[in-house]
Each structure stands twice: as C-alpha cells, then as structure tokens.
Subunit: 461 residues, 2 copies
Amino acid sequence: MYSERIRLASLHDKVMSAAEAASLIKDGMTVGMSGFACAGDAKAVPFALVERTGHEPLSISLITGASIGNGLDKLMAEAGLLARRMPFQADPALRKAITEDGHIVPTASVGNSANLALFADQVIVEISLRYGANLEGLHDIYIPPERPERSPIPLVRPDQRIGATAIPIDPAKIAAIVISEYSDSPSNVLPPDGETQAIADHLIGFFANEVEAGRLPRNLGPLQVGVGSIANAVMAGLVDAPFENLSMYSEVLQDSTFELFDAGKLDFASGSSIVLSAARGAQVFGDFERYKERLVLRPQEISNHPEVARRLGIIGINTALEFDLYGNVNSTHVGGTRMMNGIGGSGDFARNAQLAIFVTKSIAKDGAISSVVPMVSHVDHTEHDVDILVTEQGLADLRGLAPRERARAIIDNCVHPEYRAALEDYFARACERGGQTPHVLEEALSWHINQERRGHMLTTA
Amino acid sequence: MYSERIRLASLHDKVMSAAEAASLIKDGMTVGMSGFACAGDAKAVPFALVERTGHEPLSISLITGASIGNGLDKLMAEAGLLARRMPFQADPALRKAITEDGHIVPTASVGNSANLALFADQVIVEISLRYGANLEGLHDIYIPPERPERSPIPLVRPDQRIGATAIPIDPAKIAAIVISEYSDSPSNVLPPDGETQAIADHLIGFFANEVEAGRLPRNLGPLQVGVGSIANAVMAGLVDAPFENLSMYSEVLQDSTFELFDAGKLDFASGSSIVLSAARGAQVFGDFERYKERLVLRPQEISNHPEVARRLGIIGINTALEFDLYGNVNSTHVGGTRMMNGIGGSGDFARNAQLAIFVTKSIAKDGAISSVVPMVSHVDHTEHDVDILVTEQGLADLRGLAPRERARAIIDNCVHPEYRAALEDYFARACERGGQTPHVLEEALSWHINQERRGHMLTTA
C-alpha cells in the first residue's frame, strides 16, 4: 500500500505505529519537527507523544520551522511536554515520502526540515496518505555550504531551481516510518472587505506611479507577502490591478497566490510553505498539476535569505499591529507585552527588501484602538527599515523623509479621522520641545495605558 | 606639478580654482560629495560654496556617504546652504586622482563616491596634494549590475578583490578639477581605559569559550567594528588576546586596526574608509607601503552588503547608547528625541551578521544615566537582532533566550550595581502583570523622564 511512497525497499521494515516511533523519543531529548505555519507538520508522532505524558514523565525541547497546526502546540504545552520551544535539535519527525536513495520528499512545506534532518542523529518520517505522490518535484532543497567555504547562492530569478527535489540524508538515520492519514490544518483567513480593498487600492495607485516614474518595472518585481488575513486580502486586490506577469518570492503562499494564478496575473510563486483555507486547499491539491510547474517550495533559510531578498529587489508587504508617528512598526505585541503573533520572516524582508511596505487597518475593536500611535509599545521594525505605510485611509511614502516629515505624512494619510486631532496635538506639543525625533515622553505610551485601563485609547471618548 | 595625478592629458585644461569649480553648482541643484566619516571628503569646493552664500542666494540638496570633516557640515548648515541633506544627486565633487582612462582614484574613503559619480551629470574632482599617489591600488570598486540582471557578488573572502582600482566614469563628465592641499580631519577617539578594557576582557572570554565549543574558528572569522571610541578601544583590547590571523570586514577602519596590524594579530582589513587620529594618521600615511597589501577600501554598498555580511558570517561589534531589559538597543537618540549620532551601518550588520554584539559602559555622566533601562526611548536594533550585550560589568549572551530569560541575563550581568535594585524591582512588578514581554507601561520611560527633569535617572539619588 505504501511501497510507492517508500521507494528504498530496505526501509520497509522501519514502518511502525506512531506509538512505537514516539517511543524513540526519550525524556529530555531535543526534537525537531517539520511544519511551517500549519503546513506539512508532523502529526501522528506528536499526538502519540502527548498520549505518553498521561503515564510517564516526558519533557522535550522542540524546534519547528514556524507554528504547527491541529492544535498540537496547545495540546503539547498543556500536557507539560515542552520544556523549551526553539533551540538545538536531535531527532526530527518529518512528514513526507521517501525516494529510492532514502531521501525525503516533503509535502506542503519545507521550512526548517532540511536543516533539522541534516543535523539530526535519528529521523522519524511520517507519511500521510492524504497527499498524492505528485508533490514530488515541487521542492528545491539547497543548503549553503559551511563557512568559511560558503559560496554565493546561485539564485537570480524566483523561478530558478538550484537544489534537489528531496532532502538528502543518509537512510541509516531513518529510525522509524509512520503511515498516517492526517491532513494539514486549514487556514482561517478572513475574506477581503471594504477596508482591505481600500488598502489594496492605495497600494495599486502607488505601484502605478512608481512604474510610471520608471522606478519599478511593469511587473513590479518579485513580491513577498506576509501571512494573515490582511496581507492575503491586499494581495488578492491585485487580481483587478493593471499589472501582468507578476512573480512572488515569499515565505507562506496563501489563497491569494492561487487567485492570482487563476486570474492569469501571476507567472510564478516561490515560497517555503503553502497554507490554504479548506475550500482552496481541496481545489489546489485536487488539481495540483495545474499549478505545479509554476510553484517551488524552498527551505526557509533560502526563502528568507538576505542575499536573495536584496539581489532580487523584492517588494515586501507585511502586516503591522500598530505603527507610530516616525514609522516604527510593532508586528507582535499588544500593549507592548502580550504576544499576538511572532515576527515571522518580516524582519529579514523589511531590512533587505527594495521596498518595505507595512499594511494595517487604521483602527481596531470598533475604534477603541488606533493602529497609528505616538510611540509604538514594542518595536519589531525600526524607522530605518520601513519605507511605505498603508491603512484604508491612505498611503504614506516615507522614503527620504526626515522624522518630522514622516510624522506629517503619517498624520495626513494614515491615521483614522477619530484619532487625527489627538495625534496632531501630540505631535505639535512634541515639536515645541524640539529634538530630531520629537516626543512628549511622559505621554508617549499614554494611549496604550488608556486602552488597558479604560478600554479606549482616548480617555475623552 | 600635478600631471602625475591627472594622467589623462586631455583633462589638464579642466584644472581651475575652487571658486571657478564651485560656480558650476547652481542654486537648487542636488550635489553629491565624497566623504565617509571624515575620510576622503571634498573640501576646497564646499568651502568655496560657503563663501558664495555671502553674496548670492544659494541652496542645494547634499548627499554624502556619511559625516564629513573640517567642520564643513556645520559651516554649510550655518550658511543656509543646505536645503536638504540626503536624497538624489546630480554633481559630485570627488577628492582624488585621475588615471589615463579618466577614471578616478579615491583617497582615504570610497563610501558612496562610486555610485554618486556614476549617476552624476557632471563631476568636479578635487585632488589633494597632501596624499601620495601610492594610494592607487588600495581601492576595489565593484558596482552590482542593475536588477533584474543582478548576479551574485563574487566576494567570498575579506581579502578578495572583485572590481577596479578606480571609479570608472566617462571623462567627458569631468567638468572641473581643483587642486588643493587640504588634509582629512583627524578623529578624536578617546584612548582605552579600565572600563573599555573590562568590556574587551569579557568579550575575549566569550570568544575563547565559543572557540573551545567549536562554534567559532580559531581566528574568529571576519570582524566588523563600529566607529567611535568605545568600539575602537574594545578592538584594541584584542592586541593581547590569544587569537591570531584575525581579519576585518568592516565599514570604518580606525586606529585599532593598525594597532592589531602592528601587533601581528591582524592579517587583513576590508573597509569603506580609514579614519585615524592625527598621530596615527601621520604614521600610517607616512609609511603606507607597510600596510597597503593588507588593506582594501570598497564602496559602502559592498562593505555593508547583507549578502556579504551573511555569507562571510561576520561578527559585528557596535556601540549602544542604551539597551533595555529585553535586548532592544538605542544607538542614536538621547532621551528618545535628541540625535547623538547616526545609526551608520550597524543595522545592516546587526540583522545579517552571524553574531551581533553591542557594547557600552553601564553608566554615563558620573552615574546620572544608566545605559541599561527598563525600555529604551528609541529603538535602532530590535530584540530580534541582538545576540550579545557587554558592559564593563559583564556579558549577557541572549541567544536562544525567551524575553524573561533575557531580562534575567541582563540584570545579572550588565547593569551597574547602583541601578541593579531599581531594575530588578521594575522587572519583578512587570512580571506580576504578566505577558510575553512584561512591562509596567506607565513607568517604562520614567528613568528617561527623571533624567530630563531632575538630572538623574533615579529620583531617589
């Protein structure tokens, strides 16, 4: 039944149950697992690990490419399984197929799996029968040589293949193979709405001007788009834009990638994982040959590599939680303290892209929160790395502007009308005090404090 | 007298006075000038421009590689000459020599000069007779091809040459040549002291451990060192360290580079400019053949390029003005508002280096200021980009640590004893409130407010 998925016959006797495979993982071990934003993650083995915590002490350090699905992070944390969730690794559980050479073909993500497998002592492979063997050929596994012998990454176009179609490891390291029928968790992206369409429209207008001025080519150059509903919806807005032959050099490919393919706008997409809604996932994987030649999945080290981002001149479009008068962006922490989501690859892209664009709606929670504040409560992307800010109100082009000019552009273009007077007032009083980057320090975080104490950023509201 | 400096004879009739050359620059023009951290800057022509402002309206937009010397920025600003100080450029004044092909040989910096000259409509060249013709061969001018045809930068070792020894421009663009006898301004670096030596010692201990653990090679790998007294003094501390065959891949080469050469510790140094104290400058340029084969100056686009920084795995050592509990670094703004100095290349290095290290003394102004604070008042390098923090008190290794663990390491190792209890108290109360990155928002900037109002970060002192 699974021999076509395990073409190296000598490995057939490694097939075992998830519980047996999980028993190879001992208390105190460091475990790497595949998985990147809910795509291509191990499932049967981590479920079996959680099961074991009911009747034995078991605590591991776990590293993955990014978040994993099926509620597994929560389940593992609640079971007390996770002593630590990031550093070194010994044994990855990968969820894939195996070639004649014992090499591993990933499914819907590459993420960190190739590096994890190369550094691991033992490898457990999960093979999901839910995914067709036609995923083989989708991946491009390139691992830079070790320093000081490291050579240039030969990638000069998003559609170029520079590596192998499978993760090249010694088959002797494969300690167990588990057959499962699990699927990836679907994404829960929200559909586009009037505000995301307005953000997309501002961005399309900006791109059109840049093309007109000769600063961008007619196909814009490779696009990187952050994960999540807003960035996905903004990208979907390009379906009706006057740009053809688009390409993507991105990290997570979402529904919008396939909408752009279907609309004939997108020529090629490079990513590290494919994360789709349930309906779009059924369509794409049910008709995969239609897209396969125009897709490649790479290790996240390559999809996010500063060398490639800079060389290709990518345009990075990522989501801000909030940004401030001077263009600093908070992508992760609500009120400076509570983590909403990780930074993902946005730091690599913002620093090294040709254009770093951040998008957000100007208000949240029915206006109780302004996404444009005097000073962000946490900085993920500094003023130095942020070129363009867009809300449904408008677009601020910060390139080449001094701090006070940036504040002017942001107040005039991005802040919601309900917060404009308050922000204007803060800025005016800050300017009276002077300085290169004027602030009224004792009020700089007052909007966040108000929101925390009174449920609204402006006490007068 | 200057024919050996202008080997293309057809250009000899372009020699004119600084005032005549300056008259080519019209009101409203955008002017690019050479100069990078006081090295290799144009001098005669900008002095002549300042002169003109006394009797005619003259306002230009000026772009350079970095700061320029001889008090020229101040003079030009006070004369009302500068409408803007950064963007596009039309006419650079370069301070160099000219080859048989009409190509330009820079002096003690490359900075942005090559790009400025390539994009300029007209070029004014200043030739300083103070510098010997033996600077020719020091420079390596490589300009990446335009996108989308951009290929990998072929640099794989700090000592490699990949470009030309002069800036290749069409001699027809050379509109004027001015002969001068100006010298570069000397740097005012402070000598090492007990605290900078303590910082160096902590760093040397850390490096020794990394080598022992096999995480760094015995020669550490290419070092990048920020500009300024503290980084220079820390680097000088490596003279007595047990590391041999060091190399530098840096931006500004300071006195410490030549101390390490003289001590036989350093094999090679790559930079974008050479900025020395008066005494060291006289010695180095008076005996330049001694160093020339072990030095190269590159355009700042290459000295700071993310592709090269990442490939070589550089160790970046830069100076912080202050850092906070969670490892965010402020390199530029006192009290969040007043600019102390620019960010320089540190952002490129911190994000893309193998190891990003920031150094500072733990207190300033006789203890009225702590360099370790609850929340920095301005962020130039985010927690995501900072690996190692060092003060004279000790070293915090933040790699792989969660935010609360980072705070613990910083309190235990970096803060000055006079501020330890207060920082510990802040952190404990922040943790009571919870969150991924705990803060007491209404007190987060209180140390800066205290300093501003009462002249000391702790009101009780």
